[in-house]
Symmetry: C2
Subunit: 251 residues, 2 copies
Amino acid sequence: MIKVVLLGFGNINSHLIKAFHKSKAISVVHVFNRSSIVLDSTFSHTPVTNKIEDIEDADVYIIGISDDAIASFSESLQFENKLVVHTSGGVSMDLLANKNRRGVFYPLQTFSKQKQVDFSNIPICIEAENPNDLKLLQSLGEIISETVEEIPSEKRAKLHLAAVFVNNFVNYLYIIGEDILSKENISFNLLKPLIKETAAKIEDLNPEAAQTGPAKRNDTKTIEKHLSLIENDSHKEVYKMITEQLKKHWK
Amino acid sequence: MIKVVLLGFGNINSHLIKAFHKSKAISVVHVFNRSSIVLDSTFSHTPVTNKIEDIEDADVYIIGISDDAIASFSESLQFENKLVVHTSGGVSMDLLANKNRRGVFYPLQTFSKQKQVDFSNIPICIEAENPNDLKLLQSLGEIISETVEEIPSEKRAKLHLAAVFVNNFVNYLYIIGEDILSKENISFNLLKPLIKETAAKIEDLNPEAAQTGPAKRNDTKTIEKHLSLIENDSHKEVYKMITEQLKKHWK
């Protein structure tokens, strides 16, 4: 039985508690959150506190708070020599206060409060200062996910960077797509099968092989036509820039 | 029974023949292609020709060739007053030669030869000069797909433009993601669940609600860190540009 304390109850930890709850091999013994929270009735047996001095004993303490707050929050913890991990893609392990044994437990996924996720498909990227802690994080990860990989901080930073391109930036292109259609009173639903297939395609093909479109084939006529159709200057800048990059890439 | 002739056998028509073949209500009576082709054994009963003067009689002729060639090819057809449609998102209906009855049958999806698709989920955007032809295209569309919409050329151009953002440009961001990881010897597979979830999310949330990331929350520290991590100048330009647009968007 791995005893876990969740520190902070934002997007990641509020999803982690659900995944942990499914396994008898994990017990969430305490949830700390600065402001008062009420847990879902499923977890009503799990004690909650907003007092940092009350945090109970556990095998691993999982910090799920905003990147900027991780360093000072880990410093404020009142215990020592425990395994304390954060869940951030972009924060180096050594930003954690060194009075505790440090580690990282980073689920590589996008989390929103409103949207359920299946942890079994989510890669968990782990890191720890010492081999026993790494083993414990490996075990913890394997209980909820099929993919657990040891990724050191430097590589994790690159992974997080790549994630920004394929998640945040991709979603911004969805926003642009929706905006273009809404101006024409065309339902965004028409684009959803294309969006789904674009993502599904790279399960079988690498992105290079999956690339299509006017920029790849240097179809100047279509590109000019598109530019003349775009009314929003920001969208036009994005269109021009990515088209130029794609043309360069395929030359 | 709707009799169909396929003109050209590129990405779209080679997928359409499979979808049509599944229905007893549609008969592909002839496939024309400029260069010689051999059909898959499933369709070996379907006659193939590379002589434009040999094309057989049908209810609808579906042109599936490159955008630039549609106008002159439709002019070269040796029959008149038949229903001739193209399958392109970006080409106006009236670019078809007017000696025939003109129409459009545009499946809004990304097609690659190597990747099977399920037409039932693909929106078919139709257009025709006269109501009877529109009805026939509606029937033809409904046999293979759950979504058939009448979309005039002007709106279809906008739809095609939006499709470039959410498909071609999105895939380019996948290419960047893969490139960043390959330089670190990290498997692109780690990003696939995130890519899938990013696309799946907008089934439940609109893209505005689904947006996350450092640019949205104006997290200057992470943005600066990312810029320092990007080695490729093209990637850096894309990162800067989309981050700026996202910041503007959320201000």
